[in-house]
């Protein structure tokens, strides 16, 4: 086995890859577009109004005016709740509150004291509780509250900061759709690139005589497969980290890069490359390869819990999902990266590893290297 040959073949793959606009689109841009689209549809980005829970401990005319001004912005829709000060954290968690502000007791008094000139250094703190997983919405709500506070400070003191905002991060118990969807997209994208990449090598390269040509050269089967796997792994990691980057930058997801995630990316790449080889054995030309690829990836895409949670599906579909390798890939990624359920992640990764070994070995055995 010679590293130079493997490297030459890997380099040729990369060169071919970045020159094919269609491949670039389907491997890199398409998943991003899907995520942005689904993310927008299901996460409510673009709502005109955001609900803001207000707990008013002051119960004064001034605090009421403050709440009224927040409402008058037409961006925030305030909802008054009465919550005991000590149990505010558990309230947020139990009720799955995304955004909440508290107006402290003595709000009116402090402002009055400043205006009357009793206390030039008087300040009062409004607390803003927000769910860290909703970065985009939070920044909008935060800027509206800030604007209102600045306006108040200007009226009372001519710009001196009397009302201050305390930012307090919370984590609600629930995960959003995007938390569920994004790891699924990683699994789905790796599946697509590996199956179709593998099918291309086994149908197009066969038809074009490239495999026949290679049989007459000193490149070994191991070198060829290794170089192709290196390329598939490269694509898988690029896709995965692109999707993760998107999740963090646009949706403010709290994604954890764990060792199991790496194991899953590698195992998933082997799994679906092997599956592509197995399919490639039974199809003759490129068109039927495309159709056979679709016949395998489409049901998995919809049934293995990529876009929608299995819980919302009928029982028999859930059973079908559980024999699909992509289900374990998706669940594995979710548990390893988002939910941090290590035990479940280990279980799912193990199943994926077993599938990977079985399919990759089957692919190696079934692939027809020589002609009949």
């Amino acid at each position: 086995m010679k590293a130079e040959i493997i490297w030459a073949s890997f380099k040729a793959d990369i060169q071919s890859f970045y020159r094919s606009k269609a491949t670039l689109f389907w491997t890199l841009l398409f998943p991003i577009l899907l995520i942005l689209m689904f993310g927008a549809i299901f996460s409510g980005v673009g709502d005109a109004e955001y609900e803001l829970i207000v707990v008013d401990y002051d119960n004064s005319d001034t605090s009421e005016t403050f709440i009224q001004v927040l409402n008058d912005t037409n961006i925030l829709n305030t909802k008054l709740e009465v919550v005991d000060e000590k149990s505010i954290s558990s309230y947020i968690k139990d009720e799955d509150i995304k955004r909440l502000i508290t107006i402290p007791k003595g709000f009116e008094e402090t402002l009055g004291a400043f205006q009357m000139g009793f206390d030039e250094n008087a300040t009062t703190n409004i607390s803003f509780y927000f769910d860290q997983s909703e970065q985009q919405t939070n920044s909008i709500v935060r800027s509206v509250i800030s604007a209102v506070v600045i306006e108040f400070n200007k009226n009372i003191s001519g710009g001196k900061d009397i009302i201050l905002i305390d930012d307090i991060e919370t984590i609600s118990g629930e995960f959003e759709f995007i938390d569920f969807f994004l790891p699924g997209m990683i699994g789905f994208t790796i599946m697509q690139t590996c199956i179709y990449g593998s099918l291309e090598r086994n149908t197009k390269f066969r038809k074009d005589g490239i495999l026949r040509k290679l049989l007459t050269t000193p490149i070994t089967r191991t070198e060829w497969i290794l170089s192709k796997m290196l390329f598939q792994l490269f694509l898988s990691f690029v896709s995965a980290f692109l999707i993760i980057g998107l999740g963090v930058a646009v949706f403010g997801l709290n994604i954890h890069i764990t060792a199991l995630m790496f194991v899953l990316i590698i195992a998933t790449s082997f799994l679906f490359t092997g599956m592509g080889m197995v399919i490639g054995r039974f199809v003759k030309d490129e068109e039927s390869a495309g159709m056979a690829g679709g016949a395998v990836t489409f049901p998995m895409m919809f049934l293995a819990g990529t876009f929608f949670s299995l819980e919302s599906m009928p029982g028999f579909l859930q059973t079908i999902a559980k024999v699909m390798p992509l289900y374990y890939v998706n669940e594995g990624f979710r548990n390893a990266m988002i939910y941090l359920k290590t035990d479940d992640a280990i279980f799912h990764s193990t199943v994926v590893l077993i599938f990977a070994v079985v399919f990759f070995l089957a692919g190696l055995v079934l692939t027809k290297w020589k002609e009949d």
Partner: protein
């Protein structure tokens, strides 16, 4: 292997099976006479082996009941262009792919440069260059990148610059393979087969599907390989290609080699010698007059008459008959019989028609 023998008593043809070197007892199914059939051990026809690039002995390929290649044997000498000529489906590609170790033969053996490929093909790989049939390289690599990729696979490496020079690919070296014309793609295909500076180059139908100009260009490239001392194994169904390029031709038909030799030898042996074409003859009975004078003549359509010339002296005789009988015609044309006529003579079918 199979061998057919004639029963000495009832003359019925019997087919016997056995291995090389074996003597098999047979019983005639019609007259029950008993006898023995000897299966000869492989004897390579030309010795010593030094001069031989490829030796094929009793090569056979079956697909179920179909015999695609029927126990064929031949040698390719070093430095020659060997053309494997035959219509589509004759078994050319099956044969060449067995020699290239892409297909596994049902029986028989192949030696390349004296090495048996069933055991030592890995040693041979560095010394051969292959252009498979209907080869299409990686679409999105440039010509130079393509050559560099294939070159890195080999230990023995030719200079890419020299190959680009020799095959006149300067203007194309930075172009993507997918953007080249059919002729240039084939030229690049030949270039790829040269990256390891091979002794033997296999070209499987290199000019199929090309227009006449591109085909000529590919021929020039192949002629160039020969002048650089390469042995070329060429498969083709174009008889002009074999006539133009080949030192030695083997004609394959339905899995059997039906004739073998230089173009000259084949035409002399199986052709019709030379032919005098009388173009647009306006005299009736001209054919009969020629036949009465002892010539083999026939109407060749469009008013043309073809007269077969067995010896060059006969040409003057024909001319004097034409003058004496005041035969009126537009023009005369003397041409040699070609491989098309050889194939027609051997099989009763036209090479070009067999394709269809």
């Amino acid at each position: 292997m199979l061998k057919t023998v004639q029963c000495p008593s009832c003359k019925k043809v019997i087919t016997a099976t056995g291995n090389p070197g074996e003597i098999v007892k047979v019983t005639c199914p019609s007259c029950r006479a008993k006898g023995k059939v000897t299966f000869e051990k492989p004897v390579y026809r030309v010795t010593p082996e030094d001069g031989l690039a490829i030796q094929v002995f009793n090569l056979r390929k079956e697909y179920g009941d179909l015999v695609a290649v029927n126990n064929i044997s031949f040698n390719v000498r070093k430095g020659e262009v060997f053309a494997f000529l035959g219509p589509n489906g004759a078994g050319k590609t099956t044969t060449v792919e067995m020699i290239e170790s892409i297909r596994v033969p049902t029986a028989g053996s192949v030696k390349i440069l004296g090495k048996d490929i069933s055991t030592s093909f890995d040693k041979v790989k560095e010394k051969i260059g292959v252009l498979p049939q209907e080869f299409h390289s990686f679409e999105r690599l440039t010509v130079r990148e393509t050559l560099e990729f294939f070159q890195k696979i080999f230990k023995s490496r030719a200079s890419i610059d020299e190959i680009i020079d020799d095959l006149d690919l300067h203007d194309q070296e930075k172009k993507l393979y997918m953007n080249l014309s059919g002729g240039l793609k084939q030229r690049v295909g030949v270039a790829i087969s040269l990256v390891n500076n091979p002794e033997i180059v296999f070209l499987d139908e290199p000019s199929t599907g090309l227009d006449p100009k591109a085909r000529r260009e590919v021929w020039d490239v192949i002629a160039g390989l020969r002048s650089r001392g390469k042995t070329v194994f060429l498969t083709t169904h174009y008889m002009e290609e074999a006539e133009y390029l080949a030192d030695h031709v083997a004609i394959i038909h339905k899995g059997n080699i039906i004739a073998e030799g230089s173009v000259e030898e084949l035409i002399n042996k199986y052709g019709e010698g030379s032919i005098l074409d009388i173009k647009n003859c306006k005299t009736k009975d001209a054919v009969d007059m020629l036949i009465q004078n002892g010539f083999k003549a026939k109407n060749a359509g469009n008013g043309d008459i073809a007269v077969y010339i067995e010896h060059k002296d006969k040409v003057l005789e024909i001319l004097s008959i034409l003058r004496h009988e005041a035969i009126d015609y537009d023009a005369l044309d003397i041409r040699r019989s070609n491989l098309e006529e050889v194939f027609l003579h051997l099989t009763g079918a036209k090479l070009s028609e067999e394709e269809k």
